[in-house]
């Protein structure tokens, strides 16, 4: 009996599985010889484009109407406009091209053949299609600003307008005023602005000294620019993974608020099947398992009032932003072929020039899934299909202040049960009789809390060598609005001296 040693017996090796099922004929038209293999199925070039277009429409159009379509398909009438989140990457480029062909230029080759040419589905669905790009070069010293290339690319697409943001806008009160229609501080009815003083800013205070929890505190704002505040925030993060996921969250919130500003009911993102598998796995690794469904598709109901809303109106339209990923069934290979065969150029394909960017969970997951996609292509779609079936247990306890996603009830109790910690209880005499901002931890999801507090045994190289890590960092501008929505503060009118006495313990000296 042989031992099956392949070194000795050449036929002991298991034959390598063919990369495609059956024959080289296209499985769709069954006429032409195939040009591409997509997860073991063979397609010719002529069938490739309608296939991808059909997947795109199938993923987006059932979510267009406010109420889901029944068995009988009706006309598509969205509640608002369409915002395309554009990163300049591969998926975004394909998404923009598909959106433009299907809904702006009305490319006939993308139209469904059923229903006839006069069918209402051949009319323009969206009154306004906008594209929002968030430049992240400010977060990484030495990274090239791709905004000019993006502007040139978008200008080639008639009928869409570009809103170009910078990631530091998340710390810019002027941007918040444009989106929300009023300054953030007026929400709290604090009025400390007198001549010679400046409005307060909200700071995130890390555990230090006798304070073992995250807190939010107020500080007279210095003359820091939004870019400086962004860099201080990122410099305060404990791990490279935290930097990567924080940037993703900031981009997401910027896009959501831009959708509100453009009266958009739908925000589409160019996440491909491959990218989605990466984000799901890396999200679960960081504690985002409770928000798996939201990672694929979510509906965000804003707490920010609509500046354009007529408050005297009796009936107010429910505002929402649906975040859809229409390319979630389209792999990275298909996206690449789409850009190659249509001659599209991908403008922003550069990785941040920070060594720490290669050490985070996101990058490790990216490399793992990339290898899987080559050797076992079906596993990538299995990841996404499995995550779509998973329903996390637990109740929702509000939305996270940082990422605006559902917070799982009982996180802090669970953490205290599984961890050993000492807690210094401050003397009763130390507590001020004035109102104290609530601790931050109960208002964060598990993943955001871990992002801010989880330490690495091998800290990454400093993102900004000239900025030392501080125990306080500015909070994004929307945090204050989210806090007032939950009545985390009682508001009452105080005279100026009482206000200063109340806050003197929280004020930092410049």
């Amino acid at each position: 009996m042989s031992c099956g040693n392949p070194t000795v017996e050449s036929d002991a090796l298991m034959p390598r599985r063919k990369k495609y099922d059956k024959t080289r004929q296209c499985v769709r038209c069954k006429l032409s010889t195939g040009n591409v293999v997509i997860r073991y199925a063979v397609y010719c070039k002529e069938c490739f484009f309608p296939l991808i277009t059909h997947k795109f429409r199938r993923s987006l159009e059932p979510s267009v109407n406010e109420r889901p379509q029944g068995p009988r398909r009706t006309a598509l009438k969205p509640a608002g406009n369409l915002l395309v989140g554009f990163s300049g990457g591969l998926g975004s480029t394909v998404l923009l091209d598909l959106v433009h062909r299907c809904y702006v230029s009305m490319d006939q080759s993308t139209m469904p053949s059923d229903g006839g040419k006069q069918h209402p589905r051949h009319e323009k669905i969206w009154k306004r299609v906008s594209v929002c790009y968030v430049e992240i070069a400010g977060a990484f010293p030495g990274m090239q600003d791709s905004s000019p290339d993006v502007e040139t690319l978008i200008a080639q697409h008639d009928g869409v307008d570009l809103i170009s943001l910078r990631i530091q806008d998340a710390f810019d009160p002027a941007w918040w005023q444009r989106v929300a229609g009023r300054p953030a501080l007026s929400d709290l009815d604090f009025d400390l602005t007198t001549e010679g003083t400046s409005p307060l800013t909200l700071l995130l205070s890390y555990p230090y000294g006798r304070h073992t929890e995250l807190h939010l505190i107020f500080n007279p704002s210095s003359s820091s620019t939004p870019l400086e505040k962004l860099q201080a925030y990122l410099a305060s993060l404990p791990t490279a993974t935290a930097v990567h996921s924080t940037i993703q969250n900031l981009i997401r919130l910027l896009l959501l608020h831009t959708a509100l500003q453009t009266q958009s009911s739908h925000l589409v993102l160019g996440t491909s099947l491959t990218s989605l598998a990466m984000s799901l796995i890396s999200g679960v690794s960081q504690g985002r398992g409770f928000n798996l469904k939201e990672e694929m598709q979510e509906e965000w109901v804003p707490s920010v009032p609509d500046p354009a809303e007529d408050v005297s109106s009796i009936t107010t339209r429910r505002r929402y932003v649906r975040v859809i990923r229409p390319l979630r069934d389209v792999g990275r290979k298909e996206c690449t072929l789409w850009t190659w065969w249509t001659g599209l150029r991908v403008v922003a394909a550069v990785r941040p020039p920070w060594v720490g960017a290669r050490q985070d969970i996101g990058t490790l997951t990216h490399d793992f899934i990339t290898g899987l996609e080559r050797d076992y292509p079906s596993t990538v779609s299995t990841i996404v299909r499995t995550c779509a079936k998973v329903a996390p247990k637990g109740e929702v306890s509000g939305l996270c202040l940082l990422c605006a996603r559902p917070v799982q009830h009982g996180i802090q109790e669970w953490k205290s049960r599984i961890s050993i910690r000492t807690r210094d209880v401050p003397d009763a005499g130390e507590q001020s009789s004035a109102q104290v901002p609530a601790p931050l931890a109960p208002h964060l999801c598990y993943a955001c809390h871990t992002t801010l507090t989880s330490k690495s045994s091998r800290p990454p190289p400093a993102l900004y060598p000239e900025i030392s890590r501080s125990s306080v960092a500015p909070a994004p501008v929307w945090v204050l609005s989210f806090m007032t929505d939950r009545e985390m503060f009682q508001t009452s009118r105080m005279n100026e001296q009482d206000q200063r006495n109340t806050l003197k313990d929280f004020l930092l000296e410049d």
Binding site: Y20, N35, V36, V37, V42, S92, L269, R332, K333, W340
Partner: protein
Amino acid sequence: MGSQSIPTVSVKVEFGGGLELLFANQRTHRVALLARLPSPASGTAGPSNDGQSDVAVAAAAAGRPADVAYLIHWLRDNLLTERPELFVEGETVRPGILVLVNDTDWELEGEGDYVLKEGDEIVFISTLHGG
């Protein structure tokens, strides 16, 4: 005895998706390879690497026809200007690089075993752009 011309196979190689940056920022190249690599002369102690990869040496030793696997290593040894680990991993292209042979997925053509013919167009596209 008259000299015989050595048969070569001339192919067009294109790079996309940022890979051209590794090849002198030039997207299109014309490459001429030996159509069938000669076996080493008898009496030699053994194949001499001369900086060539194991695949190239094995191909030369076996007298194999030039295939895509050999082309990959030839490109790495002769045209690549930097960061070889971004193009080749082991005996094939790095994961995330899509290869087209005459506008067809190389998985349909036998991947690295596809034997090159005169005038073939081989395209290497990096898919690592992000979503």
